[in-house]
């Protein structure tokens, strides 16, 4: 009878050890998968970030070049208008008028050339140039073609990393349960049921915790 009971106990312990080991292996696989997914999300985030920074840099250069062209256009156009006003007060055939006309031609040609180098779409009613609008528009155009938003990917990577940590945490009670199962086999009859019970509780607790983190994170 006693031998039978010992044998049954040994089988039970062996089954629990096997079960605990299996669950540990399963959790490790899930943690590995989550870690992998976290790495992928980080990569996606970095790609988006690289594209966003490249876009920001390229757009800044393009937009400020346009703004520069607009400024030069305005600079020479206003100079031309000012020279035209000045010419009205001078005798047409005077040397001074001839010099001003030469300056006027230069200013007109320069403003005409620069006029082709910026988009009037960003020139406001009051004559100012809306550089911020141009930068935003260029960014939005690029965002239509490529993912420039790294934040969701990084948030996903952080969530998965947290999941990995918690899943790995649930391995601890399961591993400790293995010690108690071993002790249940090694210790005297009086203590073995206590060891087995503690081991079983740790196994159950660890498994529930795993299911919770797996399903909620």
């Amino acid at each position: 009878m006693s031998d039978n009971s010992d044998q049954a106990f040994e089988v039970l312990v062996a089954v629990l050890i096997a079960l605990s080991s299996l669950i540990i292996a399963f959790i490790s696989w899930r943690a590995f998968a989550a870690g992998n997914a976290s790495g992928d999300a980080d990569f996606a985030g970095m790609s988006a970030m690289l594209a966003a920074e490249e876009t920001r840099a390229t757009n800044a250069i393009l937009a400020y070049e346009s703004y520069g062209a607009y400024l030069t256009y305005r600079q020479h156009r206003e100079l031309a208008m000012s020279l035209q006003d000045a010419l009205k007060d001078l005798p047409e055939l005077s040397l001074e008028a001839a010099a001003l006309r030469a300056q006027l031609d230069l200013a007109k040609v320069t403003s005409a050339i620069q006029q082709q180098r910026f988009s009037r779409r960003f020139v406001q009613r009051d004559g100012s140039y809306d550089i911020d609008k141009q930068l935003s528009t260029l960014y939005a155009d690029r965002a239509q073609q490529r993912n420039l938003n790294a934040a969701p990917s990084f948030a996903e990577a952080d969530r998965l990393r947290l999941k990995v940590s918690w899943l790995q945490g649930t391995v601890i009670p399961l591993t400790v349960s293995l010690i108690f199962f071993t002790l249940a086999e090694a210790l005297s009859r009086r203590l073995r049921w206590l060891m087995l019970s503690i081991g079983a509780l740790l196994l159950l607790g660890g498994t529930i915790a795993f299911l919770y983190f797996e399903l909620t994170l």
Binding site: M49, R56, A60, T72, T175, T182, A186
Partner: protein, 544 residues
Amino acid sequence: MSNAFKRIVAVLIACVAAMTSVVALWQSNATEMDAQASRDFQRYSLEVIGTGVSSYAQLGFDFNRAYAAWEFFNQLALNAERAGDQQSAARYRSLAERMRAFSPLLQSPYFDQASQTSDLTRYTAERVLIDLARLNELFTAALRVREAWDNKTSAYAIHQTLLSVSLFLLGLALTLTSRLMARLFAVLGVIIALLASAAALGTWLTPVRDLRRVPNAIEAFVEGVSWSVRGEYEKAMEALGRAIAAAPDYTEAYVQRAIATDASGKPEQAIPDYEKARQLGSRSAQLAGALAWAYARTYQYEPALRLYEEATRIDPNEIWAYFDLGLVRLVSGAPFEQVQAAYDQAAALAVRLTAESRASGGAPPSYLWNALDDASIQLDRVVRTLRQGNSDDTVFPLETMRLTPEQAAPIEALSHRLKSLAVSLEYYGTPPAAAPTARFGTLQVTDSEGVERQSFSADTATVWLEMTFSGARDGSDLVIKFFRNGVEESSLRIFKSWEHGIQGSARIEIAASEGSNVAFEVGDYVVELYLDGQFMASGRFRVE
């Protein structure tokens, strides 16, 4: 082997196995944190590039387009005023006013209406440097966090290996027939397991310092750096003090506070901060050099010499460290051969680095010429102090130098040699070939009437250089360099052929801006003339 022994060993194996899995868990966690920190520092480095390019694109527009347009009309107005055409002047002033709308650089708080000048330094600090400094600090902090987690991961790998050895020994104890050996292996296994577990626990308990999580540390640091760039050293020291109060082990904050304190003219008060940064583990050649310079300027030559020697050991390619070592040896009264030896090492290094750069198909870095120029400027100051006594730009007052006026001549010759080396390396990539054949008299700076002048008014647009010479050769390369307040004004640099014959006298017109009447900026100027990379003569003038 008794069953009791076997049971104990079995329990020990289970415990060690459990500990191994716990250490594996910690290692895995450390690896994840390492990955996160790696990602963060990559993010910051990308942001630095993006922010840097965008900010400098804007700064380029502000200064090279908007400010230039404003200057354009103001210059036209000035020309008109000089010609007595007040009506045109008013028209151009009005156009200049309109240009101010194009950039914040030309508006309050960066534009001063009274002096009609823009504070470009403040603008750059606030619009560009603050963002870049913040990102740089975040980048450095993330890098340090990554290093810390990396170290933890490596440590856990060692602990795991030791625990595996322990498991092996315990397993072996179960199989051995000799009771003594079995117990010996078991005890050894337990000892190794205990040591490895204690070490792993120690590693786990060691906190990872993340400066990004210390409230206000980086913010106060960035504010301090920004004030420092703008020359507001008291405010910089106060802000950096706040950064240090928030994070007492913030090495870079000590370094920056020392730099601000030093720049405010209190090198003796900067020394403790530099020393503290070194205590905290910062061992760069730059830091050793900065501390050495602070010691040198408080006339504590022994520690200065020791630190400069340390800087040359830390990074043997830091050319300035040899120059400073030579300078401090000179003013501290070391034998001239030792002084010469340091300068020779620096010169040889400059030649080698130039040759290496050219051999690899690249251009040599400009810091080589700048370092050579700085070294010769320092020597010139020593010579001037020895001959004329202390002046505004004296670094080592006469009473602190262990030198006599008779020693000025060899120091001056050394300075000329460095000047020639700088120009020759820059233009030809090699040191000057032979002793110069041409001889030049003193370089005189004159006005349009040919009258020698020491100083000129702030509206001076043109000066003339007059000299006597012999042994020159037409077609030789003529280089004229201008230094304003000790820094080369490269926009004034002249490089052309010598066309004034073999001997006689020459008069060379120098305009602040060719073909216009834009005036020289206010300051103390030094002019240096070179033929075929050889220093020939120099002159000085002031615009005030």
